[in-house]
Amino acid sequence: MDEHIFHIEGLTHQFADGTFALKGLSLTIQQGKKIALLGNNGAGKSTLFLHLNGLLQPTEGKIRFKGKKMKYDRKALLSLRKQVGIVFQDPDSQLFSANVQQDISFGPMNLGWDRIAVQEKVNWAMAETEVTELKDRPTHFLSLGQKKRVAIAGVLAMEPDVWLLDEPTAGLDPYFSRQIMNLLDSIHHPDKTIILSTHDVNLAYQWADEVVVMNDGKVIYQGDPVSVFHDEDVLLQAHLEKPWVFEMFQALLQSRNLAERDLFPRTKEELLQNLETEKIY
């Protein structure tokens, strides 16, 4: 089995009005990674997601999915979408059924499973996302946090191998954000790949195995989440700030005149632990 999930070469997307959203983007996504896609508003993150799900077709360039060139006939798309699930930023653009359980069952029903299998999968997805008690609620009575969870459940029930999430925590308070991130942790698994777009560098820094930075329709960085924040050019170009844990650690090292080191703390807890065990003084 090829461990490259996506292999993108020179992907260009031009809208009908002539503007370009993607300009010769190249990127390789490996299986089993937790990838944070960073970039300023308008960098082309959402457009890239739509391409990875076959919802848009390249103006130029090509995309290989699991080693095979992507095709856009009905059968090929159905098979792609079985394997790649996408959660959109605005849940109101994603939920179209009148109640929660029905909405979650929409994807599995389209996969043509029998009713019992669908029901089981839906129950499981509702339990995982903690929306079971909302199951008969009409979609329009849900809060934003609940809608986001239902939208995720609808994708979860299809059990995709690859997850694309567009700003899953935008607009949520810290409590609900953490709930969504915990959910992603429970989904993660060596053969599942998760790509998450976000503006929140702190979240990306803490959560991701790999960071991809986009700017103006291109990938300007791909690599581990620590080194990216050492690269001042990339940060400037993509309007990125440094995660505060990273910045504090750098400042602490500097204030004690200590050399840079390889192992940076990734979470607040790690940073605090570093302080307590006095490692950095």
Partner: protein
């Protein structure tokens, strides 16, 4: 907004099988409309109102408000039927009240009085049946019944999509309205018309934008041609069927006797 919808999800009879409620409400509605008998209408109205208030636990004040809602229509409709005009020379029998202006005569005949009294009772009886259904049975549930009854799926899909989008647009329209009001958009008639025009226009642009996004979201989840879902499970209750049959049966008997 749309309180009827809200009560439909949170009322005392929400767990009753939707088909039972539909059959019950519709058969009573059709029966009372067919016989158009004042006694039958009054009894049906009382039974339905009692069920709405005591069984479904809809607040009395809200139910009364709903009953008054079609007031304008009843008023204009009944006044129109009640009063008749004729040239002065014509002589009419059974005049209950009359008034002459110039060559014309305005009058209320005994018959039209009867027609109106009957009409008003039948109308209240009918709307109580309709309210019983709409206040206790959510649209989502009615839709799943329709799917089971093999109503063409395209039609049910259209109804369902319309229902879902109503609430999205309602939120948007309300938000735009508030933001216009905060910037003094409804200070006068002229401004009001202009603001409302802008509201409708941007709502319409929203329709076009949404349709693109929603279509993508559907396709992403493997949409083929029909919206298919698993269905809700409700259980039939023989007790409920019995109650329904007894009520309908006694109404038929009452009608036979009178």
């Amino acid at each position: 907004m749309l309180l009827i919808d809200k009560y439909a999800y949170f009322n005392g009879l929400k767990d009753v099988h939707p088909l039972e409620k539909m059959v019950f409400a519709l058969s009573l509605l059709l029966f009372s409309l067919t016989v158009r008998d004042m006694a039958v209408s009054l009894i049906t109205f009382t039974v339905m109102s009692a069920l709405i208030i005591f069984a479904a636990k809809i607040p009395l004040s809200y139910y009364l408000k709903l009953l008054l809602l079609p007031g304008f229509f009843i008023l204009s409709g009944t006044i129109t039927i009640l009063f008749s005009f004729t040239g002065k020379s014509t002589s009419i029998s059974n005049i209950w009240w009359s008034w002459k202006i110039g060559n014309w005569q305005i009058f209320i005949s005994d018959d039209s009085f009867g027609t109106v009294a009957n009409l008003v009772t039948v109308v209240f009886c009918s709307i109580s049946c309709l309210y019983f259904l709409t206040l206790t049975t959510p649209i989502t549930v009615i839709l799943s019944v329709l799917r089971k009854l093999k109503v063409p799926s395209l039609l049910v899909d259209l109804i369902e999509l319309t229902y879902r989008f109503i609430f999205i647009f309602l939120d948007t329209a309300l938000a735009i309205h508030q933001s216009q009001a905060s910037r003094l958009g409804y200070g006068s008639f002229r401004k009001g018309i202009r603001s409302l025009g802008l509201l409708i226009s941007s709502l319409f642009l929203g329709v076009l934008q949404r349709s693109g996004q929603l279509t993508m979201a559907m396709n992403a989840r493997g949409y083929q041609e029909n919206l298919s879902y698993i269905e809700d499970t409700y259980t039939y209750s023989s007790r409920n069927w019995l109650i329904a049959i007894v009520i309908l049966g006694s109404l038929i008997l009452i009608n036979g006797y009178l």
